[in-house]
């Protein structure tokens, strides 16, 4: 292992479900029970215990960033707490070399009755910055947070955004070897978020090892070359786009049981113009989402939905329904099978998108089936810097 960096080696962490004894009244029976024969505590699971993190290993070298993604309760924050020495692993080894900066609850040390200025010094000390270091960078910190005129106001009068901005700003002026980040990008306005992202990339360039936990998959993909899909244990680890795709595929809404579906979606494919199945396409490519259906109950009057949204933040890009009469699809009987080609043009900016489809019965007014994602599409394009739509801009000198 290098002089700085992060090592997580076969780490297991056990938690207890339900109440613990908190008062002496409960302690005494518990002690008696333990003395009588419950035996010594082991790293095996006992009743009401569960593994919050199971056999997780990874390593982050200087200048690398690892994104940790997964559903709520998957153990992401626990991993960060283990790294940050707030929790101890039940088994395994967890090591951090170098100065740790944690962008976790960035305003945790703030006291509402103290002014911004006083809190900067306090929080700085909590983050293990030297007083002289804080004093030197004080103006920078305040300016980055955009709070110059409020710095001598008690923090209790701050808005929650101001609070978080100041907290982030302090943490961002630490010079860490290892940076742990937990969902900080959810604070502040767009401009501030962009500055945060820039700041983190800068740390990376300067050789910090970064562990980034977030639900913002776009931000993970932007900052981290590798990602870890965690759900109590490692589900996938590797290059970010692949891991994100794997996560997104599993993360979606469960379908109704097969028996309940009047019309079932049996198969979906994303095809290019020559009919080949693809996962990546250039911008403005002519593509097809081919969806096969099977009918289980007699139906007529259906709506077929086609939708697309950005994978990282679920931003809807397109959502429309097409009636069965439009496609000249008559009444359907049980056992019927048919396929619809949704031809579309991928006028999208670079990034990852989900395609989805559903069937809606206008008579019963319910969805007979939906499948999301029915396809994942990565648009490979390098012109745009940000955005979702490809406007096919063509600049030229006007004559």
């Amino acid at each position: 292992m290098a002089a700085t960096g992060v090592l997580f080696d076969g780490v297991w962490k056990k938690f207890q479900r339900g109440e613990r004894h908190d008062s002496l009244r409960d302690l005494i029976p518990a002690l008696v029970k333990r003395a009588v024969g419950a035996g010594p505590r082991t790293s095996e699971l006992q009743e009401a215990e569960f593994w919050a993190v199971r056999d997780v290993s990874f390593e982050v070298q200087p200048g690398q960033a690892l994104g940790i993604i997964g559903p709520n309760g998957a153990g992401k924050s626990t991993v960060l707490k283990l790294l940050n020495r707030i929790l101890a692993p039940t088994r395994g080894r967890c090591e951090i070399r170098g100065r740790v900066g944690a962008l976790i609850e960035v305003a945790a040390g703030f006291h509402p009755d103290l002014t911004g200025r006083e809190n900067v010094y306090l929080q700085g000390a909590i983050l293990h910055m030297k007083r002289t270091e804080i004093a030197r960078r004080f103006d920078e910190i305040v300016e980055f947070a955009g709070l110059c005129e409020f710095i001598d106001t008690p923090v209790k009068r701050y808005s929650s955004g101001m609070n978080a901005r100041l907290g982030f700003s302090i943490a961002a002026h630490l010079q860490p070897d290892v940076l742990l980040i937990d969902e900080v990008l959810s604070v502040g306005d767009m401009g501030f978020q962009q500055r945060c992202v820039d700041r983190m990339s800068e740390f990376k360039r300067q050789g910090a090892s970064i562990v980034f936990v977030s639900h913002n998959l776009q931000a993970v993909a932007g900052l981290c070359e590798r990602a870890l899909f965690l759900h109590r244990e490692v589900r996938a680890m590797g290059p970010s786009p692949e891991v994100i795709e794997q996560y997104v595929r599993t993360a979606d809404t469960p379908r109704a049981p097969a028996g309940a579906r009047a019309v079932e979606i049996t198969r979906t494919e994303v095809l290019d113009a020559s009919g080949r199945q693809i996962v990546m396409a250039p911008a403005s490519a002519a593509l097809t989402l081919r969806v096969s259906y099977r009918v289980h109950r007699a139906v007529e009057d259906l709506l077929f939905g086609f939708l697309a949204y950005r994978s990282s933040d679920r931003l809807p890009v397109y959502d429309a329904n097409f009636g069965s009469e439009e496609m000249r699809l008559g009444a359907l009987a049980p056992g019927d099978e048919f396929t619809i080609d949704f031809r579309f043009r991928a006028n999208l900016a670079r990034g990852q998108y989900h395609l989805g489809c559903h069937v809606y019965d206008r008579r019963t007014q319910e969805y007979t089936d939906r499948l999301c994602p029915s396809g994942i599409l990565t648009i490979d394009e390098s012109r745009t810097y940000a955005g979702i739509a490809n406007l096919d801009v063509a600049p030229s000198i006007a004559t």
Binding site: R20, S23, L24, A102, E105, D113, L122, A125
Partner: protein, 264 residues
């Protein structure tokens, strides 16, 4: 107990000394901002108690302490208050900083230690009144005052050791605070704070005399008011106990530290 561990703990504490200073500053600043009397409270409480006990032990049941009674009582109360308020804030120091304990890493000892140093600042302010009283009664111990830092150091170590244990046990069992409130008010009368416990006599008196705090509080009176060195036997014993208590408490605290975030 391993000395290497202890060295490591002390080194970490030195590394984080600025945080300790900031925490002490925070608490003092807050009190100054949140209360009208501010630091006046540091003087007010021992002064009121001195007045009450002076009434009892000068008018109702006079006792001879070899010193003007108000001076005897104020000196004892000042030392006692240092310890009592250290522990009163120390006991809840972890539980009242939940968000820090569960979110950010730094040595957790900072919390109880900060409580002790805040109380020490209060005691320093309270000692201004003591100086006034000494001038009023014309009592002055002379060069023995040079031993004061030693007495304070022993007292601080003893207090810090107990503060560590209390803060930790309160985190795991919230009964501790209530138990503490009872014990501390009883303990004051089991210690030579407002009267010499030797005067209790009998078996109880002998038991009470074993309290190491007696030696410490009497040591303050010796070096400040009587102009003598502290009684060597009892004070040395108290010093040894204090050092050992702090070391053991610190190690125990350190062992428990990693479970704090899960149990708070």
């Amino acid at each position: 107990m391993r000395f290497d561990d202890m060295r490591l703990l002390i080194r970490e504490q030195i590394e984080y000394r600025e945080l300790l200073v900031q925490m002490v500053r925070r608490d003092l600043l807050l009190r100054y901002k949140q209360t009208i009397m501010g630091f006046g409270w540091a003087i007010f409480m021992p002064l009121v108690n001195t007045a009450i006990f002076s009434l009892v032990f000068m008018r109702v049941a006079p006792i001879d302490t070899g010193l003007p009674y108000p001076l005897y009582a104020y000196c004892g109360l000042l030392a006692w208050n240092f310890m009592a308020s250290s522990l009163r804030f120390g006991v809840v120091s972890l539980t009242s900083n939940t968000s820090l304990v569960t979110k950010i890493y730094f040595p957790r000892e900072i919390f109880p230690f900060a409580a002790v140093f805040v109380a020490l600042v209060d005691a320093a302010i309270g000692s201004l009144v003591l100086i006034g009283l000494m001038a009023w009664y014309g009592v002055w111990g002379g060069p023995a005052i040079l031993l004061l830092p030693v007495v304070v150091a022993v007292h601080v170590m003893f207090t810090a050791g107990i503060a560590l244990l209390l803060a930790m046990s309160h985190l795991f069992y919230r009964d501790v605070k209530y138990l503490f409130d009872v014990v501390v008010s009883v303990a004051m009368f089991a210690t030579s704070v407002v009267y010499p416990v030797e005067r209790v006599g009998g078996v109880l008196g002998q038991v009470l005399a074993m309290n190491p705090l007696n030696a410490i509080i009497d040591a303050y009176r010796a070096v400040l008011l009587r102009g003598t060195a502290p009684a060597p036997g009892p004070f040395l014993a108290a010093a040894v106990i204090s050092v050992m208590l702090l070391c053991v408490a610190w190690m125990v605290f350190h062992r428990g530290e990693l479970a704090f975030a899960e149990h708070i």
